[in-house]
């Protein structure tokens, strides 16, 4: 047993660090480190910079233009990028539809879609949740009826993250209404420019416009956009969720945001002294840091298992729960450090990013989402109870 990274791994991390320091534009870095929402154009710009270095798809195999890193290197890459203030790469193409196409796509689909993901030519969004199908995803009712060489799609998707920028949406649709609910689902790729696709923003409690409703009214989709076999969609959906869960611990982001809390605590005062010297605040900061240290090691244990055995397994649910809870607790620390300074709503920042109001309160409020999305923490506890504890 050895918890240290190898010399090769450390050299790799140093190489990433040097590249990010040199290549990450200052205005992007400053916005991210200040805790502002990252505008869409920053995300695309950074994605193109990484692509130029050959690192656009850090989790992909060489066969598809990825660097072929093992999970440990993927983790080191993510951590270096996050600590340096890089925006998070969008998961919808890289971690979701990409791996699905590699596994289930036809050669035509693979060659058509995969190369355009790391290069940021295509922006993907996820058409999973519906108003009547959240945690119970298999209850989805968006209907696709085959008419010759096309499907006619009708229904509504919701919580579609950054769908307003998307070129494509991958959708779970019902193709058989008679079968058991998991067995009548298919996986369709839909061009967002298709006639009948309407995107309506959902404004969130922090003013953020990051999720949308997507209405599909008599949308015609060519049958060559079906991934896998008809009615095989649930298998694909589960495969996708498994991939989504790798990297879910958010260790890098949590370290970055905890450092921000610590910095703020040194700058802010409480009762005439730096907040960092307040023993109660310091104790709460310490508790969160200890939780994060444990998450870091637990994450490495899961990564090592994924590297050695090929799958992170149900332990990944623990990473999702702790990673999201810690993220929220850090946002509380930041909110408390800002005190009354968190009250103003920075409309100018909203105009600048075109996305959200700024500030600690917005950050805190926005992060309520992390225990809900990606499989709510309650669903993750169900998974642990069933697959780890055999209850």
């Amino acid at each position: 047993m050895d918890l240290n990274f190898t010399a090769d791994e450390l050299a790799f991390a140093a190489e990433v660090r040097a590249f990010v320091r040199q290549a990450l534009p200052a205005e992007i870095r400053d916005a991210v480190l200040a805790g502002e929402h990252t505008p869409a154009q920053y995300i695309s710009r950074w994605q193109k910079i990484l692509h130029g270095r050959g690192w656009g798809a850090p989790t992909w195999p060489r066969e598809w233009g990825g660097p072929g890193w093992d999970p440990v290197r993927q983790h080191l890459f993510d951590e270096e990028c996050m600590l340096a203030g890089a925006p998070r790469q969008l998961p919808f193409g890289l971690r979701m539809v990409g791996p699905v196409l590699m596994k289930f796509g036809t050669p035509e689909q693979q060659h058509r879609f995969l190369p355009r993901i790391p290069s940021a030519e295509d922006w993907w969004c996820q058409g999973y949740s519906e108003p009547g199908a959240g945690s119970d995803l298999a209850a989805l009712s968006t209907r696709a009826v085959r008419k010759g060489d096309r499907y006619l799609v009708n229904g509504q998707k919701t919580w579609t993250t950054l769908g307003q920028h998307a070129d494509w949406i991958f959708c779970l649709v019902r193709t058989d209404t008679e079968a058991k609910k998991q067995e009548g689902i298919s996986f369709l790729l839909i061009d967002m420019k298709s006639k009948g696709v309407t995107v309506r923003p959902i404004v969130l409690l922090d003013g953020a416009r990051e999720v949308n409703e997507v209405f599909l009214d008599d949308v015609e989709v060519p049958v060559e956009n079906l991934v896998g076999a008809e009615n095989q969609g649930w298998t694909i959906a589960k495969y996708l969720l498994e991939h989504e869960r790798t990297g879910i611990a958010n260790v890098g982001i949590n370290k970055r945001e905890l450092a921000r809390a610590r910095r703020l605590a040194r700058e802010c005062t409480r009762n005439g002294r730096p907040l960092a010297e307040d023993p109660l605040y310091a104790a709460r900061l310490a508790e969160v840091e200890i939780e994060l240290m444990a998450l870091d090691v637990l994450n490495l244990r899961v990564l090592a298992a994924a590297r050695d055995r090929g799958s992170p397994g149900p332990m990944a649910s623990m990473l999702k729960i702790k990673g999201s809870e810690i993220y929220q607790r850090v946002s509380e620390l930041i909110l408390e450090a800002r005190g009354r300074d968190a009250l103003p709503c920075h409309a100018d920042a909203q105009a600048r990013s075109g996305w959200a109001q700024d500030g600690a309160a917005a950050f805190y409020l926005n992060l309520r989402k992390v225990t809900i999305y990606g499989g709510s923490n309650e669903i993750q506890r169900n998974i642990i109870a069933k697959h780890v504890l055999d209850l």
Partner: protein, 340 residues
């Protein structure tokens, strides 16, 4: 980065698990826990036979010279079966202190007999020295052959052959004793910085070993509780099917994994610059985990968890005693925060 066990580690863990399975069932353990507190527990000889008493003793002194992480893995494995033997205090703490000292007749002799399982030496953490006598209280002191203690800036070894002892059992069944012993036979092993370093090694190894023991026993408590939730039926189904209970078990499983992660990390970082901080973090995390697991194990068992008859109540008491033996958690947390 590698979390797999080496061949040696796997072998030690396997033999400890076998020992726990074959010799540490609840009833025989309970018999030990109510036996006389001044008689060495019966399994110590078997520990020696498996090489466990020689684990941290350097090879030149007749031991196996294994790194601390091996001792942590062993303590964790032994902890699963309600550890009543002085493995942590003698084989890890005292042995680690002596191992770090330069060779000398006294040190080598002590290590040699400890490795063979022929003598039990434990640290007397809060020793009071006055009028030619050392007094203090320590687990296992009722049957220890000698104590290790700090006398001013000196690290001393003292045979307990002629000591006055008052032995008792802690609420969790662990034997302990208050001792008073003349300093006449005192052997000074080290002075100044060397003594301080050796004493720190003893304290660190004791803390780490106890943390690992807690991780091991908490695993047993979790396993028993999960098994109970699978078999106990109410309202026509196993109670583990109720989400209100299943989710709490999931949270306990997470806490346990966190505590185990930080215990291992602390064992491997102990000599690094942030080693002390890693140990404090491991203690705080273990404390949170043991409180939650101990309390919830009883609650999830319901009334039966309150009974003396069931193993759970005894294991939970040991978890609580481990917390207390580790020392004040707020102090550890404050130290961790101050070292940020």
């Amino acid at each position: 980065m590698d979390f797999s066990l080496s061949e040696d580690q796997s072998m030690f863990v396997a033999s400890c698990e076998r020992l726990v399975r074959e010799r540490c069932a609840f009833e025989p353990r309970r018999a030990v826990a109510v036996s006389a507190a001044d008689v060495a527990p019966p399994l110590w000889r078997e520990f020696a036979g498996l090489g466990l008493t020689a684990l941290a003793v350097p090879e030149e002194a007749g031991g196996l010279g294994r790194p601390l992480i091996d001792g942590v893995l062993v303590a964790q494995s032994l902890g699963r079966g309600w550890l009543l033997e002085p493995f942590v205090d003698c084989a890890l703490a005292a042995a680690s202190a002596l191992a770090g000292l330069p060779a000398s007749a006294a040190r080598d002799a002590a290590l040699g007999t400890m490795a063979a399982g022929a003598s039990i030496v434990v640290p007397l953490i809060e020793a009071r020295v006055a009028a030619g006598t050392v007094r203090g209280t320590a687990p296992h002191a009722g049957y220890a052959d000698a104590v290790l203690f700090a006398n001013g800036s000196r690290l001393c070894l003292l045979s307990l052959q002629d000591a006055e002892r008052r032995a008792w059992r802690q609420f969790d069944g662990t034997a302990a004793a208050e001792i008073a012993c003349s300093l006449e036979g005192e052997v000074v092993l080290a002075e100044g910085a060397a003594a301080a370093a050796a004493w720190a090694a003893a304290r660190d190894a004791a803390r780490l070993g106890r943390i690992a023991e807690g991780v091991g026993l908490a695993r047993t408590v979790l396993d028993l509780t999960a098994e109970y939730l699978r078999t106990r039926r109410q309202f026509g189904q196993p109670i583990g099917r109720f989400q209100a209970l299943a989710h709490r078990m999931a949270d306990l499983a997470i806490r346990h994994e966190q505590a185990q992660s930080l215990a291992w990390a602390a064992a491997m970082k102990l000599d690094a610059a942030d080693g002390a901080r890693a140990l404090d973090a491991a203690q705080v995390m273990l404390h949170r985990a043991l409180r939650a697991i101990g309390q919830e194990a009883i609650q999830l068992h319901g009334g039966i968890g309150m009974t003396d008859e069931l193993s759970i109540s005894h294991y939970v008491k040991r978890l609580l005693a481990i917390e207390i033996e580790l020392g004040d958690v707020d102090t550890a947390l404050a130290r961790f925060a101050a070292a940020a």
